[in-house]
Structure formats: C-alpha cells, structure tokens
C-alpha cells in the first residue's frame, strides 16, 4: 500500500451470491481529504462505503485504515463513523442522548458529557435542541444530529451515505456549504457517497466515478469535468457533445483527427494512447462552444451549421445546432450577455467556434 494514503482499498471484490457488487476496486484516500464515490444506484458505491464501516466484508482484497487491515475488525471497533442515508436517529432517545450515544464507553462524568454535547449542538447550529425528541425534528435537523453524533467520537474517517438525498433542493444547497465548512473545521477524512454529480463536484477534493462495481475514473472535480477518460464518465458528469472520428496523424502529444461533422481537428492527446487509424471520439462541453450569427474571427476552430431549436433559461440559453453529416444536433450553452444571439424561432444559419484546448480526445468505444 502507498505510505501516504490514509484509507487504502486494495483489490476489493464483493459478491452477493453470484452477483458481483464490487469488481477489483483499489482506491487510496489521503488524510483530511473530502472524497466522493459517485454513481447511479446499484453501482456499488454504498456497498463500498458499508465495507469501510464494517457492515459488509470484502469477498477478497483488503481495506486498510491508518495502516491497519480492517477485514477482521467489526464495525464497533473501527475508527470510522457513519452518517446514514436514513440518518438512523434513535427514536426512543432525545437529541442529547442521541448525540451522546457513543460516549458510554468513555465513562465521562455527566458534566463533561453535557459540555461535549452542548459543544456539538453549537457546532451544528442547533443550540437548545437537546431535549427535543427525534420525531420533533425536521429532515435537516436530523441530518445535523446524525453528523454531531458521529463527530463527537472524533473518528478518523467520517462516512456519509447520501446524507443530503432526503432534503429539498434549497436546504440541500445550504447543507452542502455547511458540510464543506465542517469538514475544514474538524479536518478529518470524509468519504461521501452520492448519485448527484453536481453535489459531488461542489463538495469533493477528489471523486471516484463508479459503474457496475468498478471505478471508471478517479480525479479532482476539474479533472473529471475537463478531462474525462471515457465516454461514460463524460456523459455521466454534465452534458457532452460527442463526435466520431479517426486518427489521421500522431506527432508527440499532438494528434490529428478527422471528426464527423467538424472536419480535421488538431488536439492534445493528453493521457489517451492512440495510433494512426484508430477510431476515436472527440468531445466538447456545450458551454465551451461559441455561437454567433456571423463568422467568428481569431484562433481556434469554427464551422457553420443550422440553428434548429433553442431553450431560454434566463441567465443562459441552450441552442441546438444541426451540422452537416451528423444525426444528432450539437448542444450549445451560451450565457445571455448583451451580445447574446436571438433564440431560434425558425431554422437559420449560425456559426460555432471553439478553442482546441477545450476538445477532449476519448479512445473509441
């Protein structure tokens, strides 16, 4: 295992009967990192989190936390705590007893315990809520109490299983900010499971995108967004336009691709290994495309197409542009500045433009 990794997941497989929930996953997570497992439901992210907590054990492979192998350590002896998706607030206890639940073993005097609970209530901004019963709490309050209950034990790792999933949109955004602040305050490693890509991008230092029990890509939010390594990752995070193409020349890291609809492009291959004649895909985000009524000047590529459809969203508009030789229209997302183009009321010619750095080369699949 790598020496600087705080959590190290080594070649872990997990079978439920014949179903393979986790397929040879290896992940290293650093100390104090906010790490997210992102994927749609059934991708194995929750299973992986539950293996970190100790509720499932790997069928093969090993998980190390702080250098210690974990496969034979039961949940109650692990230096991790979890915030459950349902929050799992004990309904027969009040808020204070919920938060102090894990302190029993430390045999603290009551005054000390109360002081710690009050401190936690302060931290989660619910001072004075100690005597409430669990069923008198809103979703957001339960979520904070679940956090406090875990954090009061000063775990080395905090595991969060879709903790914001049950909240409405506004509260969710507020809690995202608070969660990020909290993580910086307490400085411990957070492992966060979510299916919401925006949430993962907002919160995380690094993200592992999972699908069918495997890690597709592991990178920082910018890395994932700007340099997706596969079409699946690219389409899972945000929207992406894809163009089929063939490599027509390789020169160091610079590649020439004949792309359908766009013509010949020159772009940086980065980590993608390609040879001449390979089928590849070129991808570009809708907001990286410029759109104008007249032919744009300057560096970069440009092409003329037909503006077919627009959707006005206030601060921005989505335009759909038909290019010759392509079945699907190209999506363009343009900010509505003063020089914004008019939305399409009927098809009309339009120009698209781009910087070569915005193009992403994906190995064909």
């Amino acid at each position: 295992m790598t020496s600087d990794a705080f959590i190290s997941i080594r070649n872990v497989d997990k079978f439920f009967g014949k179903f393979q929930a986790i397929d040879d996953v290896s992940i290293d997570i650093g100390h104090g990192e906010f790490f997210s497992l992102l994927g749609s439901s059934g991708c194995g992210k929750t299973t992986l989190l539950r293996m970190l907590a100790g509720f499932e054990s790997p069928s093969s492979g090993e998980i190390y936390i702080d250098g210690q192998p974990m496969s034979e350590v039961p949940p109650h002896m692990r230096p991790v705590n979890m915030v459950f998706q349902s929050y799992a607030i004990f309904p027969h206890l009040d808020v204070r007893d919920n938060i102090a639940y894990g302190l029993r073993k430390q045999k603290l005097p009551k005054a000390k315990r109360d002081e710690m609970v009050d401190e936690m209530l302060e931290l989660i901004k619910l001072p004075g809520y100690g005597d409430r019963k669990a069923n008198e709490l809103s979703g957001g309050q339960r979520q904070r109490i679940a956090l406090a209950r875990a954090l009061i034990l000063r775990p080395k790792v905090l595991l969060l299983d879709e903790p914001l999933g049950a909240l409405d949109k506004q509260l969710r955004e507020q809690m995202q900010l608070e969660l990020r602040d909290l993580q910086r305050t307490v400085g411990i490693t957070f492992v966060f499971v979510t299916h919401d890509q925006e949430e993962a991008l907002t919160l995380s230092d690094r993200i592992a995108v999972m699908s069918e029990g495997r890690v597709l890509q592991m990178d920082s939010p910018t890395g994932l967004y700007e340099r997706p390594s596969s079409r699946r990752v690219a389409s899972f995070i945000g929207t992406m336009n894809f163009f089929d193409g063939t490599v027509s020349g390789v020169n160091g890291t610079s590649v020439e691709v004949a792309a359908e609809g766009l013509g010949t492009l020159r772009l940086d291959r980065r980590e993608t290994a390609v040879a001449e004649g390979d089928k590849v895909q070129v991808a570009i985000r809708p907001e990286k495309l410029g759109i104008s009524d007249s032919r744009p000047e300057g560096e970069g590529g440009r092409i003329e197409g037909t503006l077919e459809n627009s959707a006005y969203l206030g601060e921005r508009s989505h335009h759909y542009v038909r290019l010759d030789g392509l079945e699907k229209p190209v999506a363009v997302s343009a900010q509505n500045k003063e020089n914004a183009i008019a939305t399409a009321d009927r098809a009309r010619p339009i120009w698209l433009s781009w910087n070569e750095e915005s193009l992403v080369l994906l190995a064909g699949d």
Partner: protein
Amino acid sequence: MSSESYIRRPNRPLQVYAIVFLIVLYVPVLFIPLFSFNDSIYVRFPLEGFTVKWYVELFHREAVWNAFMNSVKVGAVVSVLSTALGIFGAKAITRYRFPGRGPLVGFIMLPLVVPLIIFGVALLVLFSQMGVPLSLYTVTIGHMIVCLPFSIATLLPRFEGFDPSLEEASADLGENAWWTFWRVTLPMVFPGVIASLMLCFTVSFDEFIMAFFLTGTQPTLPMYIWGQLRFPQEFPSVLALSSFIIAASFAIVFVGLWINRGAHVSTIKGD
C-alpha cells in the same frame, strides 16, 4: 384522501352484518358469566336470582388455589422463555439471509397449524420412553411449543418495522452486539416483547390439550375444570371459575394487543 370516495362509501348491509358478527362472536361466551351469577345449580332459563355464592365457594377451595398457582407458575415461565427465544428467532429471521431460512421458519411455525394432539402424544411418548415423570415441567415444555410460534409471529412485525440502520448506527458508534441489543433493539421492539409476554402467558394459562396429555399429579386450572365437568353439581362453580378465567384472559390479551397495535406501522421512518 376522502373517506367518502366511490370505493369506500358506506355499505349499510355490510355494517349490520359486521355488528351481528361481533355479537355472535361474543354472546355464547357471555352466557358463562351470566349463569355464574344465577342462583340455581341448573343452567337454564328463566334465571332464578342473583348470587355470588359460587364465587365465594370457589374462593375457599384449596384445590382451585393450587391449580391456579400451578397455571400461573407454568404461564410465567412459558411466557418468559418463549419470548426470549422468540426475540432471538425474530431477529435472526428478519436481519440475516441464510440458507434454508424459509423451511426453518415454517418448521418453527408448525405448531400453529398441526393438531396439538399429535405434539401432545409425541411428547408424552418421548417423556415416557426417557422415564421422565409427568409434572409441571413437562407441561411447561409442551406449552412452549404452543407459544413459540405466537411469540415469533408477534415480534416479527416489530423487527420488520424498524430500520435496520438503527442497529448499524449503534455498532458504528462503538457498541458491540450485547450493548446494541440493550440500548437499541430492545427499546425498539419493547411493545412487541410486552405483547408477547402477555399473549404467551394467556395462551399457556388457558391451554388444555398439551396439559391434558402432559400433566402429572398437579393439575393446571383448565385441567381442574375438565375434571369438574363430570360432576353436574359442580356446574355452577365451574361457570364461576370459567368466568374468572375468561375475564382475566380477555383483559390481559386486550392490553397486550393494544400495546402492540402499531406493529404493522413503521414507527421509525416517517415523521
């Protein structure tokens, strides 16, 4: 949602039927207390006058007290042991996947349907072959067979009704299985435990067939009644004793069922 929707609009004939049904369900049983206050040794109309002498007479009979104490002892032990085993069983059934779970549950639930006379004679044969004399202990074992399925059936919805992540949360917060049981599981299923204790006690207290085959020299209360049924002159006192048992059973069972009334509603997940 309106309760007056098309499907759910009131159905008058059905309502009358339901009320008649309940009356017919209870009335035959209510004749027992009615005649127990009748001042005649014959159970027949017209009633001849109010008396409590049959009760007073019972109260002074030592054999009744002995039988009563035997039934209470057996009932208490049976309810505690069955409920304890029921808690283990219900937790195992609801929380873990393991091979053969379905058939095993079916096996444990068997006494609910198989005629008890078969288990009664089977146990009788076992005890006699092993040379175990019949006593209150053998009755206790017989009653546990009868009560265990009820205990599990009472506790299962309780375990199903509470979020398994509560127990996981407890483990996650550092408590081992033992403490998790005392601090989370037991408080969560507590109404079910109380109900199971009360129902098992009543079932054992009232049970006849197992006791019929497995009782030694010390009769339980139903066995005592059975013995008295042969003597016509004892009929009124049997009625009085029966009235007492019926009243006590109805009260205990009603409280038990009422305590456990939320069993099919998840009390945890929703607000």
